[in-house]
Symmetry: C2
Subunit: 346 residues, 2 copies
């Protein structure tokens, strides 16, 4: 084969000529407008099929919907987000919507760039997963384009939201460990200082839930937190810090599975065994938690369901931008596996 220039794009004029109808008629069929007879519709659709005509999304964008939904995820390495994406795409299967994903990188500046890019590209709606951006900014975005926020608490006058009951999830872990006889139950949290984020972000709610449950179980004196980040490295550093304290904890509740993996690494390096010397629990019940050689006890917040609910809310909001915002909160469960066991000696 020889290099040749790209073939000329088939246009609406070609379709009209081929179907022997007017371009206005083709346009009506394309827009599903009134006034196109079934016979006309059939003729145009046949011409479209025969010529391989694809209406330009840019052109469609100028006159209405682009059938594009932008999903901003914090990062690509946390497998829990893949569960949410599965739920979104499953819910949209069979519709004309195409999902396009971009990472927000857990930073306000990067998130602003991604969100602006999605608005620039006339996306019909946005799903923002655990965004760290200021709430005023999120509301501003939602006033411009239908938006659903996943994994962030608090009500909003402009966007719908789907979140897991993170306080209840943390309590499931503390109760499980306390029932196993643990008292020195430590927690690795994602460091947070912003006032609004402290009220709304799942990480902050989990730390609150941990403290509340410890108090409720009469373990207030054993509250012990390492404040790092929800990353593998954050878990590694957090566990190292906790292990260096005397007396060291007999159990660690990591705020996310990816954090628990980092903690497991630090514990192995310190020559300690799990769960013999120390129990570890995570949060998200991501694919890794159930992986046999890891077998991590973890809170299941059903990412697929969260994603499906988010997609459903978004499609409803695209159809009716003035509907009242909805907050969906799901109840977590605990998947108990091999990394947690009864306390041996204190």
């Amino acid at each position: 084969m020889v290099d040749k220039p790209a073939p000329r794009r088939v246009t609406i004029i070609d379709v009209a000529r081929h179907a022997q109808v007017s371009t206005t008629a083709v346009s009506k069929v394309l827009r599903n407008a009134y006034g196109a007879s079934p016979a006309m519709r059939a003729k145009v659709q046949q011409a479209i099929a025969e010529l391989g005509y694809r209406p330009s999304a840019a052109a469609r964008g100028l006159r209405g919907q682009t059938y594009t939904i932008g999903v901003m995820i914090p990062e690509l390495r946390n497998l829990f987000f893949a569960d949410i994406l599965d739920g979104i795409t499953a819910q949209l299967a069979g519709t004309d919507y195409q999902v396009l994903i971009a990472p927000g990188c857990n930073g306000e500046k990067a998130e602003a760039r991604v969100i602006d890019a999605m608005i620039d590209r006339s996306m019909d709606g946005l799903v923002l997963i655990a965004p760290v951006s200021a709430k005023t900014r999120l509301i501003e975005v939602a006033r411009r384009v239908p938006t659903v926020v996943v994994g962030r608490h608090g009500s909003s006058p402009a966007y719908d939201s789907v979140a897991d009951d993170d306080v209840a999830g943390a309590a499931l872990v503390v109760d499980h460990l306390a029932d196993l006889g643990h008292r020195r139950i430590a927690h690795i949290e994602h460091h947070e200082t912003d006032r609004v984020r402290l009220a709304e972000m799942p990480n902050a709610r989990r730390a609150d839930g941990y403290r509340e449950a410890m108090r409720r179980r009469g373990l207030a004196g054993f509250i012990d937190i390492a404040s790092t980040s929800y990353t593998h490295d954050g878990g590694y550093r957090g566990a190292k810090e906790l292990l260096s304290r005397a007396p060291r904890p007999t159990a660690i509740f990591a705020g996310a599975d990816v954090v628990a993996l980092g903690a497991l690494e630090a514990i192995a390096e310190a020559g300690l065994s799990v769960p013999g010397d120390i129990s570890v629990a995570g949060y998200d019940n991501s694919a890794l938690a159930s992986f046999g050689p890891i077998s991590l006890t973890s809170v299941d917040q059903d990412g697929r369901q969260m994603g499906a609910d988010a997609a459903r809310l978004l499609v409803d909001r695209i159809a009716d931008r003035d509907r009242r915002p909805v907050q969906v909160q799901l109840s977590p469960t605990l998947a108990v596996r091999r990394t947690t066991a009864a306390v041996s000696l204190e």
Copy 2:
């Protein structure tokens, strides 16, 4: 706050009025066209900043570039693809290009849908990672929009490609295991029957490399392949099958890290230890391979570098669509870790 309709979009007319220049002048500045004086440019840019004007990407799409690059990845759960994406975004940092990702789900139909959606949205260029679509189809796509294919071998008259030397990578594993005294080295491959894909897909090249290296080491009689898929489940099933054969292998070369993890799970279930009873090696050196408790010996194909090369080639091709196609092939290395050791008894 009270619900109110979305604010009216700031238009080029508003910018012209605010800057007290003509809309033609604003348009020139936006297009970086000749004939806009530095003073004019400054005035317009100030008005743009003050009004928060953002040119509609749909409108830009009609008159030229959309500054959007579509990246199709096979799936979101293989962490190696995150390395490639890191390389792509790092290479594009500081440019106007926005990367948007969609999963192709390892199927021709799903890939067709994603690629069509990206072309419909007037993306400036595509990076297709390990696509399974027919080669004629990939060439057709590349004739319409600048395209770089990552992780697929074979030359093309239309697209650039970046791949790892998979035959050499497989040989690194076989040589490492043979040097440790293993002879019964088995392989788990991704099942493939299509003639073109057998020549071009990394999985098929790795299986070829395995067979070649076994023969070169005088181990042709020990060639033993389980043909499943490059997924966690494929690794699990493949290892179960290999372990049921008598005599069972002393080492398993899994074609991808995600496959190796499934194999580790099956081996643990069978009550065997790694590397005491059986050695395991993977391919990709993804984040999981270096994770302490797993510590998987794996072939490193440097996904970041592959992604960076792909982005560089794509930007070059967008600038000059008629340049000759380039094939970049990278040399892999072996990261030796704790899952491989000298053979004990046969």
